[in-house]
C-alpha cells in the first residue's frame, strides 16, 4: 500500500459568554422553559430589527488578538439564506465578505515538537433555535431560546496532519478562549463545536485530495476516532481505485461510522449578501487599543512568569495553568498566604486526588482561595498538624468550610501542653513495656511505634516534634 498523508482543517464554533444575545437583549442563560428567552427579534417577527451587541465584537476581537489575527477595523455582517424552521428568519446573520479577524495562527506542541497552525478567519454569527421532534404527537416543535446566541466561527488553514495535532490545536484554542473569559468552551455541552475537513493525498504530493466535512463531533475522543475512521475510509476508496466525493458527513460515535448528509451537487446556494439592517462595524484605533490593553495574561505568558517568579517544577506549572480556574485559584491563594510552593502542593496533590476520586472537572472546584490560605496558615503556625490539615482540606474541598472555625469547633488543635503530653506518654510507656525494652536494647524501630501509640492516644492532635522530643527524653532517663 502507498503512503498517505492526512490533511485536516477545522471549523470551530464557539458560543460566546455574553449575558444577552447578539442582536437583542434576551438572556443567553441555559435551561429556561421553551421560548421564554425570546422576543420579536430572535423569533423573526415581521418588522423586528437586529441591533448588534458590542460585547460580541469585543470578545471576537480579543480571540483574534490572542490568535495573532489581523483585525478588520471595517467589517460587515452578511445574510446567509436557507430555509429551516430552527432559523426563524430563514436567514442567518453571519459574516462572509469582511470577517472581523483574518490571517492568524497559534502554536501547538505535540510529541513531534512545535508547529504553527494558521487561522484563515474568525467571524461572528448567530446561533439557531432547537427543533424537538415529538414522536408521540408526530410533529416538530421549535424552541427559540438559543436563537440569536452569539457565536464565533474560527476557520483554520488545512495545516493539521493527524488527530494528535487536531486535539492539540483544539486544546490550545479552548485554553486561549477560556483564559479570555470569552466562552467556557465545553464540547459536550455544545459551547464549542468542531467540524473536521479532511482529505488524504499520497505522501509527497503537492495538490490536496478531495475533502469531506464531518459534523456532529462532541468530544475530543469522538474527534480522534472520526479522523482515524475517515482517513481509513478515504484511503480504502483510493486504494480500490475509487474517488472521494466532496460531501458533508455525519459522525455516529456509537457506531464509529460516518454517513453522507449531502454532497457538493446538492449543496445549498446560500445567496449571501450584505445585511442591510445593520451598519458596517467601524473599529477605531482607540477601541482596538482598549481591547488590547484589557487582554488578560494568557497561558504561555503565565507559564513563563510562574517559572520566573515561583520555585515550582515545570510539570506543576503545566498542570496549574491547564485551566483558567486552577490558575486563578493558585494565584488568588498565593496573594493571601504568599506560599507558592505550599499552595501548589495542595492543589497538585490533595485537590487533584479528590477531583479524580469524585470524577469531577477542575471547573467544578467550588472552595474559596481564602479557606485554603487559612488552612496553610494554621498548618504553618503549628495550630494543626499535617495529618489533621489533610482531613480539614477534604472538608474544605467538599463544603468550603472556614478551617479556623472548623478546627475550633471540632477541637482539632494540636495539643502543645507539656503536662498533658508527659502524662499521656507516661501511660504509653507503662502500657508498652516490651517496646520500651526493645528500644533500650537498641531497636530504634520501636521508637516509631511508641510515637504512633502516643499520637493515637492524643487522637492525632499532638505536635509530632514535641512527642518525639519528650518521648526520647523520658526513655533515656
Amino acid at each position: 500500500m502507498k503512503q498517505y498523508e492526512t490533511v485536516i482543517g477545522l471549523e470551530v464554533h464557539v458560543e460566546l459568554a455574553t449575558k444577552t444575545k447578539i442582536f437583542c437583549s434576551c438572556s443567553t442563560a441555559f435551561g429556561g422553559a421553551p421560548n421564554t428567552h425570546t422576543c420579536p427579534v430572535c423569533t423573526g417577527m415581521p418588522g423586528s430589527l437586529p441591533v448588534l451587541n458590542k460585547q460580541v465584537v469585543e470578545y471576537a476581537m480579543a480571540v483574534g488578538l490572542a490568535t495573532n489575527c489581523r483585525i478588520n477595523q471595517y467589517c460587515k455582517f452578511d445574510r446567509k439564506n436557507y430555509f429551516y424552521p430552527d432559523n426563524p428568519q430563514n436567514y442567518q446573520i453571519s459574516q462572509l465578505y469582511l470577517p472581523i479577524c483574518v490571517n492568524g495562527s497559534v502554536e501547538i506542541e505535540t510529541a513531534a515538537g512545535k508547529k504553527k497552525i494558521g487561522i484563515h478567519e474568525i467571524h461572528m454569527e448567530e446561533d439557531a433555535g432547537k427543533l424537538i421532534h415529538d414522536e408521540w404527537e408526530d410533529c416538530s416543535l421549535v424552541d427559540y431560546n438559543r436563537s440569536g446566541v452569539p457565536l464565533i466561527e474560527i476557520v483554520s488553514e488545512p495545516d493539521m496532519r493527524s488527530a494528535e495535532e487536531v486535539i492539540a490545536y483544539l486544546d490550545k484554542l479552548r485554553l486561549i478562549i477560556q483564559y479570555l473569559g470569552a466562552s467556557d468552551c465545553k464540547l459536550q455541552e455544545g459551547s464549542m463545536r468542531a467540524d473536521v475537513n479532511l482529505s488524504v493525498r499520497e505522501a509527497g504530493a503537492e495538490a490536496f485530495g478531495t475533502r469531506t466535512e464531518m459534523k456532529n463531533l462532541n468530544s475530543f475522543k469522538a474527534i480522534a476516532r472520526a479522523i482515524d475512521g475517515e482517513r481509513a475510509r478515504q484511503i480504502e476508496l483510493l486504494e480500490e481505485g475509487k474517488q472521494v466525493v466532496q460531501e458533508t458527513r455525519r459522525w455516529d460515535d456509537n457506531k464509529e461510522y460516518s454517513y453522507a448528509m449531502r454532497s457538493k451537487e446538492d449543496a445549498q446556494d446560500y445567496r449571501y449578501f450584505p445585511e442591510p439592517d445593520l451598519v458596517p462595524i467601524e473599529i477605531s484605533d482607540q477601541w482596538l487599543l482598549q481591547v488590547k490593553q484589557r487582554q488578560p495574561e494568557l497561558r504561555d505568558e503565565k507559564i513563563a512568569r510562574y517559572k520566573r517568579e515561583y520555585q515550582i517544577p515545570e510539570y506543576d506549572i503545566l498542570i496549574l495553568t491547564s485551566s483558567k480556574k486552577m490558575a486563578d485559584l493558585f494565584e488568588e491563594t498565593i496573594a493571601l498566604c504568599k506560599k507558592p510552593k505550599e499552595v501548589s502542593n495542595w492543589l497538585m496533590g490533595e485537590a487533584m486526588r479528590l477531583l479524580k476520586e469524585e470524577e469531577k472537572d477542575v471547573d467544578e472546584i467550588s472552595f474559596s482561595p481564602a479557606h485554603l490560605a487559612k488552612l496553610i496558615a494554621l498548618l504553618d503556625a503549628g495550630t494543626i498538624n499535617r495529618t489533621v490539615a489533610k482531613d480539614v482540606f477534604e472538608v474544605i474541598f467538599r463544603e468550603d468550610i472556614d478551617p479556623e472555625q472548623y478546627v475550633e469547633e471540632k477541637g482539632l488543635k494540636t495539643v502543645n501542653d507539656e503536662e498533658v503530653l508527659r502524662s499521656t506518654i507516661k501511660e504509653v510507656i507503662l502500657a508498652n513495656t516490651q517496646s520500651v525494652e526493645d528500644y533500650r536494647a537498641g531497636k530504634t524501630k520501636a521508637m516509631g511505634f511508641l510515637v504512633g501509640q502516643t499520637m493515637k492516644a492524643m487522637k492525632g492532635k499532638a505536635d509530632p516534634g514535641m512527642v518525639n522530643r519528650i518521648l526520647t527524653e523520658m526513655l533515656n532517663q
Binding site: 441591533v51 430555509f83 445567496r271 449578501f273 451598519v279
Partner: protein
C-alpha cells in the same frame, strides 16, 4: 362645519380648543368611510370600536386640561405594512391574513404619543410591491378622483383615504416612490424623509436599505407637522440616524428668494407626458417669479436607476420575505406531507404573482455566479447615483422634477406589462437609492381631471429646504379638493 375638509393641523387645533371633540372627528371620518368605502376600498381593516375608545381617552385628557400632543384627537389611517399592536397587519397579503402584531412600530408609537387616533389600516400593493395597489390580495383600491383609475401605489389606500377625506391624514411607506407616486395620482401631499429619519422598527420590510415611512396629508404644513411627530432616533433600528434637529415646521415659510433650484434635463425628455410636463414647468415658473434661481443641469445615470433599483430591492425582498413560511405565524397551507411540501404550498398559495416575481428575481441576482454581475454591479450603480446627486447639491438647494411620467393609469392597464409598470418609477427611485428626502405636491389636473404632482428633492437631512419650496408653491394656489369629497359635503 365640514370637519373632514380641515387639514390635520387645523383639526387638531380645533380639538385642543374644544370646538370639535375627538369623538366627533372620528364620527366624521367614519361617515365618509361608510359612504365611499364600498366603491373606493381604501382600507383593509377598520377599527371603529378601537378608534372611539382611543378618541375618548384623548378627549378625557383634553377635558382634564392635560398637555396633549400636536395631533391629539386627529383620525389617522396607517398603511398595512406598519405594525399596530393588537390590530391585524396584513401587508395586503394572504400570507399574513391572520397576523396580529404584539408590538407597534416605533413610528406608530410616536403618532400615538402625539395623540393621533388610529381608525384603520390602509390597502396597499402586496408587501409594497407594485405601483397601482392592484396587487393587494384584498382587492383593488380606486382613485377617488375617478374610480375607473388606479390610486397609484404602493401606498394607494393611504393616499385615496386622504384624498377622499376618509381620514385626516395617513402614514405610508416609500421604497421606490410608494408615497410620492400615489400622492401625485390622488392629488395629495406626500413626503419621503431622508433614509434613517423615521424608525423602520415595526415596518414590515420590503427593501430594507430603501424603505422609509412618511406622511401623506392634504398640504405641506400637515406633512411637516406629522413628520415632526413620527421622526425620531431609535436605538432599535441600527440604520436610524441621530439628527441634529427634528424641527421641520419652522421651514413653513413663504420665501424662496435666492433658493437655487436645479432642473434635471434628463427628467424632462421623451416619455414624460406633455400635460404633466407643462404643469410642472408652470409651477417651477411660479417659484422663479418668487425669487428662486432656476437652472437646468444634467443629472446622469438616470437610465441605470431602474435596473439597479429592481435588483437591490428584489434581492433584499427575497430574503426579507423568507420568514413567511407557515411555521411561526400567518397563513399555512391546509394539507401537506412533510416540511418542504409545507413550505412550498404555503408560499405558493400565500403570495401573489408580483411578489413571487420579485422573490424569484431577487433570488436569481443573489445566486452564486450571478452575484457579481448583478447585485454587486447594482450596488456600484447606486453609489454612482448618490455621487451624481452629491454633485448636483453642490450647486442646488432643491431639485424639481416630475413624480411620474403620466397621471394615473386605468384600472387593469398596468399589471399585464410589469416592465412598463417598473419604468413608471423612473423619477422616484433614484431618490431612494441615494437616501434623499422628496416631496410630492399637487400642481393641477390633466384634461381627464386627474391630479398631477410635482416632486421636490433635497439633499440628505435637508427636508426643510424642500418643505420651504413646496410651501411657497402651495401658497400660490388653493387646495384642489377631490370631487368625491366635495360631493359628499353637498
Amino acid at each position: 362645519m365640514d370637519i373632514m375638509a380641515l387639514t390635520a393641523v387645523e383639526l387638531a387645533k380645533k380639538i385642543r380648543q374644544r370646538e370639535i371633540s375627538a369623538r366627533e372627528a372620528v364620527e366624521a371620518a367614519f361617515r365618509n368611510i361608510e359612504k365611499q368605502e364600498a366603491v373606493l376600498h381604501s382600507y383593509v381593516t377598520l377599527d371603529r370600536e378601537g378608534a372611539f375608545r382611543r378618541a375618548e381617552a384623548v378627549q378625557r385628557r383634553i377635558d382634564a386640561g392635560e398637555e396633549v400632543g400636536i395631533l391629539a384627537g386627529v383620525p389617522v389611517a396607517v398603511k398595512d405594512n406598519i405594525c399596530t399592536k393588537g390590530i391585524l397587519t396584513t401587508c395586503s397579503s394572504k400570507i399574513l391574513e391572520n397576523f396580529v402584531p404584539f408590538f407597534s412600530a416605533e413610528a406608530m408609537q410616536n403618532l400615538e404619543q402625539a395623540g393621533a387616533v388610529l381608525i384603520g389600516k390602509t390597502n396597499m400593493d402586496e408587501f409594497a410591491m407594485g405601483s397601482t395597489t392592484e396587487t393587494s390580495y384584498y382587492g383593488v383600491t380606486k382613485n377617488p378622483w375617478n374610480t375607473e383609475y388606479v390610486p397609484g401605489g404602493s401606498s394607494g389606500g393611504s393616499c385615496a383615504a386622504v384624498a377622499a377625506e376618509e381620514c385626516a391624514f395617513a402614514l405610508g411607506s416609500d421604497t421606490g416612490g410608494s408615497i410620492r407616486q400615489p400622492s401625485s395620482f390622488c392629488g395629495v401631499t406626500g413626503l419621503k424623509p431622508t433614509y434613517g429619519t423615521v424608525s423602520r422598527y415595526g415596518l414590515i420590510a420590503y427593501g430594507s436599505s430603501l424603505d422609509q415611512i412618511g406622511p401623506i396629508a392634504k398640504d405641506v404644513s400637515d406633512c411637516a407637522a406629522i413628520l415632526e411627530a413620527v421622526a425620531s432616533y431609535d436605538s432599535k433600528d441600527s440604520t436610524s440616524i441621530k439628527r441634529e434637529s427634528y424641527d421641520f415646521t419652522s421651514a413653513l415659510v413663504e420665501d424662496v428668494k435666492g433658493l437655487r433650484i436645479g432642473i434635471p434635463r434628463d427628467y424632462f425628455t421623451e416619455g414624460l407626458d406633455i400635460e404633466v410636463k407643462a404643469a410642472i414647468e408652470k409651477a417651477i415658473r411660479v417659484l422663479e417669479e418668487r425669487g428662486a434661481l432656476v437652472e437646468e443641469f444634467d443629472l446622469n445615470f438616470v437610465e441605470y436607476a431602474i435596473p439597479a433599483y429592481y435588483i437591490i430591492a428584489s434581492a433584499e425582498a427575497s430574503s426579507n420575505l423568507a420568514r413567511f413560511d407557515g411555521v411561526k405565524y400567518g397563513y399555512r397551507t391546509e394539507e401537506y406531507e412533510g416540511l418542504h411540501a409545507m413550505y412550498k404550498r404555503t408560499r405558493s398559495e400565500g403570495f401573489g404573482a408580483e411578489v413571487k416575481r420579485r422573490i424569484m428575481l431577487g433570488s436569481f441576482v443573489l445566486s452564486s455566479g450571478y452575484y457579481d454581475a448583478y447585485y454587486l454591479k447594482a450596488l456600484k450603480t447606486k453609489a454612482l447615483i448618490k455621487k451624481a446627486f452629491d454633485r448636483a447639491f453642490e450647486r442646488y438647494d432643491v431639485i424639481a422634477a416630475p413624480v411620474s411620467p403620466a397621471t394615473a393609469p386605468k384600472l387593469g392597464e398596468s399589471l399585464s406589462d410589469p416592465i412598463q409598470m417598473y419604468l413608471g418609477d423612473i423619477y422616484t427611485i433614484s431618490v431612494n437609492l441615494a437616501g434623499l428626502p422628496g416631496i410630492s405636491v399637487p400642481c393641477g389636473v390633466d384634461e381627464k381631471g386627474l391630479p398631477i404632482g410635482m416632486q421636490l428633492i433635497g439633499n440628505c437631512f435637508e427636508e426643510k429646504k424642500i418643505i420651504r419650496a413646496a410651501y411657497t408653491w402651495e401658497q400660490s394656489r388653493t387646495y384642489q379638493r377631490c370631487p368625491i369629497a366635495k360631493k359628499e359635503v353637498g
